[in-house]
């Protein structure tokens, strides 16, 4: 039996190994030898942070409790990946052309670089994801405890709380070290990505190893396993159809909206072709992760005592069979899935918090923030590090307060419904030009309120936040407002109920708000650029650049992009503009390029605010809008004009040719005429002349 001390040693060695791998990857990338770090394989593996400790431990527990239903959590993302053409293709392209840094940045950027929206999305994301981080800490400490007490019935005398603390500390250290090394989100975090790719392999191998052991080692083969499955408690189909459908849709939505998934799918994406490969490779990964879940659950139900925690079957089954080594491997798998999720989730959230909450506040405190001296890079990086620590601390706090209770799957689902509220604003923003900021804000707030009321607050249990009388009879005795039976529709499963109402009312609010409001110029421009991303990857809007001075721009860009990077950008631009001076003219094109570069570091809204401080606020004039509002129409018009011109030219040329031919013909006629006339005239003239000469000479004589 593996002792707890051995486990801690293994754990630390593994963590040291991860640090080493991340460090080596950073080194290789810095030396320009990092091409292999950006292969489709690494991209696909990095997507596997979708499979957290919830998957690793929770799926088996879920299967033991309610049969096949667990699999819906993987069916949704598989469908989204296989259907990459519909949505992901556009999302990734938009993310790359707009240099989006997070899901909040995407939404804020689409709706006129609105900071309010960015803050709302950030807060929602933090609230939605914190329980999820707590869940990971809980699963790691729970799995540690199992080694000191294999039955999993008590806490086993180990100090779980302090174990949770050390895990949280280690994770924040790793994230701060490798996640905030470079500022520009588009420079990508090679170290982190490679570390989570390694962890992806570890967790897959671990789960497969336990599965193979269970099927061939315990049950004795596939057909025996199948018989055993059919004879177990979960041997018959018992899935509720509405839950099955709702969870499939929900997991697909969450796959797109989870901040950490957005980070690896869009922000860390290096090449759009990787997405094509991941479209079938990632479903393979998901399938393998869920392949042995039911067998492990069934064997666990068979072998272990009644009261043991099904969430830990992945560990307790090998332990009960005396397979200490396998159990340690499986522990490492669970540890990997928990840590990779926490790292990427905090990274994504800290980017959002620092770009959309800290930076705007800092800027407004600075007054004319963009023109004072000082290095903004340090501020941003510092803000990001503090946010990482705060977010992990929040997760730890939640874990302490909630006391590590509740099934893993239930907490995960609540989190999913929360982040799925971004979906209408995201899809609407990419496909519908009529979507406006007011609509997006309405939808998000409505969805968030309903999620809180129907899902988050009731999850704490009766009489904790919501009183049991409120849950039973509704607020003020109004039956129609009962948190888990809105509008008097009873008897629906609470999760389905929350998904249905929150997403439905969210979408309705979004559409209604968009229909009745009128977008600002910038919103319309951004909308056109997002929706028509494939038609034109050109320019969205113009800064009226004359007010901004190149020197000021240079100073500001240096402070955000760093000296060398900014100088390179300016030098290149000067060359493009075709003069030898060091500073380029602040043309609208150039201003836009600077803004886009900066937004990759500090987010669209902040970058926009900083540039507008320099330029003097007038970002878009009506003329600009008129000129570029409908780019596609404009381009169409232009090409039509060209076409018309060229056909006009052709006409002219043809006419010229005709005239020319006529002229030639006339000239020939003229020649013939002249030659004939000269003959016809000369002969009688000569004779007349000679005649008259003779006559005159005869007269004189």
């Amino acid at each position: 039996m593996a002792s707890i001390n051995l486990l801690i040693v293994v754990c630390l060695t593994y963590v040291a190994f991860l640090f080493l791998v991340a460090f080596a990857a950073e080194r290789a990338a810095a030396r320009g030898r990092g091409n292999w770090l950006r292969s489709p394989l690494v991209y696909t593996l990095s997507l596997s942070i979708y499979c957290t400790a919830w998957t690793f431990y929770g799926a088996v527990g879920y299967a033991a409790r309610s049969g096949m239903e667990f699999i819906t959590i993987y069916l949704g993302p598989s469908l989204v990946m296989i259907g990459w053409w519909w949505f992901l293709r556009k999302l990734v392209r938009v993310g790359r052309t707009q240099r989006v840094t997070s899901v909040a940045d995407l939404i804020s950027s689409r709706y006129g670089k609105s900071n309010v929206l960015a803050i709302v999305v950030t807060i929602m994301a933090v609230i939605g994801v914190t329980p999820y981080i707590a869940l990971q800490l809980q699963s790691v400490t729970l799995s540690l405890s199992i080694f000191s007490d294999p039955t999993g019935t008590t806490d086993g005398g180990m100090n779980l709380v302090s174990a949770g603390f050390w895990v949280a500390l280690g994770l924040s250290l790793f994230t701060v070290l490798f996640g905030t090394r470079n500022l520009n989100a588009n420079e990508r975090h090679n170290g982190v990505v490679i570390a989570i790719a390694v962890e992806a392999v570890v967790k897959l191998v671990a789960l497969l190893a336990v599965g193979i052991f269970v099927v061939w080692g315990v049950a004795g083969g596939i057909s025996e396993m199948m018989v055993r499955i059919d004879n177990s408690d979960i041997g018959q189909w018992q899935v509720d159809g509405s839950r099955w459908t709702a969870l499939t849709v929900l997991s697909g939505a969450a796959f797109l909206c989870l901040p950490r998934m957005f980070q690896v799918l869009v922000v860390e994406n290096d090449d759009e072709r990787h997405l094509h490969i991941a479209s079938w490779a990632f479903p393979i990964y998901l399938m393998m992760m869920s392949l042995f879940v039911v067998p492990i659950a069934v064997v666990g139900l068979d072998l272990l005592p009644e009261n043991s925690n099904p969430d830990l079957f992945v560990l307790t089954v090998p332990l009960s069979q005396g397979q200490g080594g396998l159990a340690i491997l499986s522990f490492l798998g669970g540890f990997s899935s928990a840590t990779s999720m926490v790292i990427v989730a905090t990274l994504a959230l800290s980017t959002m918090v620092s770009n959309h909450v800290v930076m705007p506040i800092w800027l407004s405190f600075q007054g004319h923030g963009a023109t004072v001296s000082g290095d903004v890079r340090n501020v941003v990086i510092f803000a990001r590090r503090v946010s990482i620590l705060v977010i992990i601390a929040l997760g730890y706090l939640y874990y302490r307060v909630s006391g590590g209770s509740g099934a893993l799957a239930a907490i995960g689902l609540i989190s999913f419904i929360g982040v799925a509220q971004f979906l209408p604003a995201m899809i609407g923003g990419i496909f519908w030009r009529g979507a406006t900021r007011v609509g997006a804000l309405t939808g998000l707030l409505v969805g968030f309120a309903i999620w809180t009321y129907t899902s988050l607050l009731p999850s704490f249990g009766a009489d904790i936040v919501l009183s049991s009388s409120l849950l039973e009879q509704g607020p003020f005795g109004v039956e129609w407002l009962r948190p888990q039976a809105l509008f008097g529709i009873k008897g629906i499963d609470p999760t389905v109920h929350a998904v249905l109402w929150s997403l439905m009312l969210n979408t309705s609010g979004f559409i209604f708000g968009s229909l009745v409001s009128f977008p600002k110029p910038l919103e319309r421009l951004q909308g056109a650029q997002f929706v028509n991303v494939f038609a034109n990857s050109g320019h969205a809007h113009g800064w009226s650049g004359s007010a901004a001075q190149s020197e000021d721009l240079m100073v500001m860009a240096q402070r955000i992009l760093g000296g060398a990077e900014a100088q390179k950008l300016f030098r290149r631009e000067a060359q493009i503009q075709g003069h030898d001076r060091y500073l380029p003219e602040p043309t609208p094109d150039f201003l836009q390029r600077v803004e886009r570069e900066m937004s990759a570091s500090v987010g669209a809204a902040t970058a926009h605010a900083m540039i507008s401080q320099l330029v003097g606020g007038a970002s878009v004039s009506v003329q600009d809008l008129m000129a570029v509002a409908d780019e596609s129409a404009q381009m169409l018009e232009y090409s039509n004009q060209l076409e018309a011109k060229s056909s006009e030219l052709l006409d002219t040329a043809r006419q010229l040719r005709d005239v020319n031919a006529k002229l030639t013909q006339i000239s020939v006629q003229k020649d013939a005429f002249l030659s004939q006339i000269s003959h016809e005239l000369r002969t009688p003239m000569t004779s007349i002349r000679s005649m008259s000469w003779r006559n005159s000479s005869a007269v004189t004589r």
Binding site: M68, G83, W244, P283, A633, N640
Partner: protein, 99 residues
């Protein structure tokens, strides 16, 4: 102003096939969704006298659909990967009609 650049009526056989494969990629998730929603129609253990679907059958069905979808997606990707370079270069509307 109203006139869009004319889209060709007839494509060369190769690019015609590519476009149909793109259609297939677009359809694939819908097919998958349909197949994976089938289980909602299955009899459950509290059905009225109808024998519920056994777990082993359910596993075989769900994973079978999964494997099929992956194979389809993979082979479509493979097909388009090999031919996509010319897809852009193909001049539309000048070649002969596919027979």
């Amino acid at each position: 102003m109203q006139r869009l650049p004319a889209t060709p009526v007839f494509l060369e056989r190769r690019s015609y096939r590519q476009r149909r494969m793109m259609d297939a990629i677009r359809l694939l998730p819908l097919v998958g969704l349909l197949l994976w929603l089938m289980p909602t129609l299955w009899a459950t253990s509290d059905g009225d006298g109808v024998e519920p679907v056994r777990m082993s059958q359910a596993i075989v069905y769900v994973f079978g659909v999964w494997v099929c979808l992956i194979l389809c997606a993979g082979s479509l990707w493979n097909y388009l990967k090999n031919s996509s370079e010319d897809a852009i270069d193909v001049e539309f509307g000048v070649k002969t009609e596919p027979k």
